[in-house]
């Protein structure tokens, strides 16, 4: 098992004819992901790496029955693309786009909740269940199939953690980037629930960063409901307050969202919080 995606997942790529969409479709196909269709308005009838392209999500759904959609659409059209996927009945939407206005996401998130659509991101590297399916930008070869779940608010820092695991021959069940924006879809708590229920997952890595209170909420959930060991690293202990550190969501404002508060909450909940990003792999090794 794994969570959210596996070899049976049927993937629709929105924005498939763009540079990014086309490149990553090729990479995902090479990994073995079952990409069944693409959508770009006005490009219906074409194909990209032998994947058929449709003008609308509705058509793609009717002809190819996808159950996951990936959004490779520029920021100003991305909210529209997410809504089209949700309205088309897709169960899981992964939005890789960075730079969507927060106000757009407030409304999108509301609509998805009404439809019961799951969203990963936006501003995420995506999700991978190693050996089964890759729906994202990550380099597949650093991953290894196994029993540790990884969830994170950042991209390359996740690769760092995964690499430390794989080098110790510790495989991963599923790795999810939840996204670096202030308003996102699935939260750490949603994923913790899934990892707890997943028989193939023995331990979880939680990589957080400054801004918001997702880590604090996760901490109180872990204390109450999670029996599996959790290892965490929080990035941004040295970040100055009031400055946005790359991600739209990574900002300490008015004393909230500090790394120290997050580290304290997680430690209190029994999570092994490592000081240095170099210690993630060894910490997991010591808890499993």
């Amino acid at each position: 098992m794994s969570i959210l995606v596996d070899e049976k997942t049927r993937v629709l790529v929105q924005g498939i004819t763009g540079r990014e969409g086309s490149f990553h479709t090729q990479q995902m196909l090479a990994y073995g992901t079952n990409v069944v269709a693409g959508v770009t308005p006005g490009k219906g009838g074409q194909s990209v790496h032998d994947v058929p392209v449709f003008d609308t999500v509705a058509e793609a759904v009717e002809k190819t029955e996808p159950n996951a959609a990936m959004i490779f659409v520029p920021p100003r059209f991305a909210a529209e693309a997410i809504l089209e996927a949700a309205e088309g009945g897709i169960e899981l939407v992964i939005c890789l786009t960075e730079g969507i206005p927060v106000n757009d996401m407030v409304l999108v998130r509301r609509y998805l909740d009404i439809h019961g659509t799951k969203l990963i991101g936006p501003n995420t590297p995506g999700i991978i269940s190693p050996g089964k399916a890759k729906l994202g930008l990550m380099a597949g070869y650093i991953h290894r199939q196994g029993r540790v779940g990884v969830m994170s608010r950042s991209g390359t820092l996740t690769y760092e953690a995964v690499n430390q695991l794989s080098q110790r021959e510790i495989g991963q069940s599923t790795c999810v980037g939840i996204g670096g924006d202030p308003i996102i879809g699935l939260s750490f708590i949603d994923l913790l629930k899934m990892f707890e229920d997943d028989e193939q997952t023995d331990a979880v890595v939680l990589i957080g960063e400054i801004g918001g209170n997702a880590e604090e909420e996760a901490a109180s959930y872990i204390a109450q409901k999670i029996s599996k060991p959790v290892v965490s690293f929080i990035a941004g202990r040295t970040a100055p307050p009031g400055r946005r550190m790359g991600h739209a969501g990574a900002i300490v404002t008015g004393g909230t969202g500090t790394a120290s508060a997050k580290i304290a909450a997680l430690s209190e909940a029994g999570v092994t919080v490592v000081e240095s990003p170099a210690q993630i792999g060894s910490a997991i090794e010591s808890v499993i």
Partner: protein, 389 residues
Amino acid sequence: MKIHEYQAKDLFASFSIPVPAGRVASTPREASEAAAALSGPVVVKAQIYAGGRGKAGGVKLVDSPASAQDAAERILNHPLVTHQTGPAGRVVHRVLVEEATDVKTEIYLGITIDRARRLPVIMASPAGGMEIEQIAKDSPEKIFKEWVSPEIGLRGFQSYRLAHKLGLSASETKQVAGVISNLYRLFVEKDCLLVEINPLVVDAHDRVIALDAKINFDDNGVFRHPEIEKLRDPSEENKLELQAKENNLNYIKLDGNVGCLVNGAGLAMATMDLIKLAGAAPANFLDVGGSANEEMIERGFSLLLSDPDVRAVFINIFGGILRCDILARGIVAAVKRLEVKVPVIVRLEGTNVEEGREILAQSGLEFLRARDLDEAATLIAEALRGEEK
């Protein structure tokens, strides 16, 4: 993106939020003229992006055009040091001269996004004048909130309900409710992340007026508002940061002396933390992005070296889409062109890492190569000790 108080007040006025009559001035003479054109005593307020201006001496109440000129003389073209500016302060280029208000009651009013509930939240408090963080700490029971359902927007009854909790007269409550509705309209229509009026006051004539105005716009939404983009004041931004923005690099100047170049924001923050753990301090945050090319690496590198504080450089790259061989070529090109005199520590991992390491090794240049993060931390500490000798 931030704007000045006088710009925010103009925007308030265009959304029917009452503000004091005032004018912006960039010379003492203009300040005196502005005071003469207004009636009665005036307030001269330094215009910089940072808060805490009043306590720092950047706000003066004066009773004549001559003393307005004096106050402007003392404020203009001098650095103002507040708790938000850092020790060097910010040089003041403009003052806002506005009619003094006879304040009866001070209220706090703010709108932002509640990330936990994923909805806009409006906050109001009768403890105006104090910072909201301070109110939250001292008397959280004095902060009242209304959340907005985006599909129906802020409803009139909500604005009234919130205003009603502030203990004002019927007429004042009605006026505050109007300000709340208009402020929310501004928040949504102009893609804001934060709008704040602190204080919103009731004056001696029972009129509700916004005495201060603070707006942070969503950088991701500014493309929809060219009129807002025009308000940007480049003199308020760090030169290196502006240069970085023009090159699509994400750079923030910090106080330390280890320059770092990293791909990805999370890894960049983690790298800063690692430098700190090694007993040093980062000179900057620099994220070249997940898909940087050779040229961007070179630009990023020269940017961080143009910071005179940098005593060592740490390049930490996890190649995914960005291949290590491309990155190595960019570094080698930059080091050759810029005649780098400080130690350069390089840690490469990921796609095509062997080719990348080979390019560095064959370059004839001196790099301190780290296999992993632990080794990198040790090398940084050693490099800085070498510098001190």
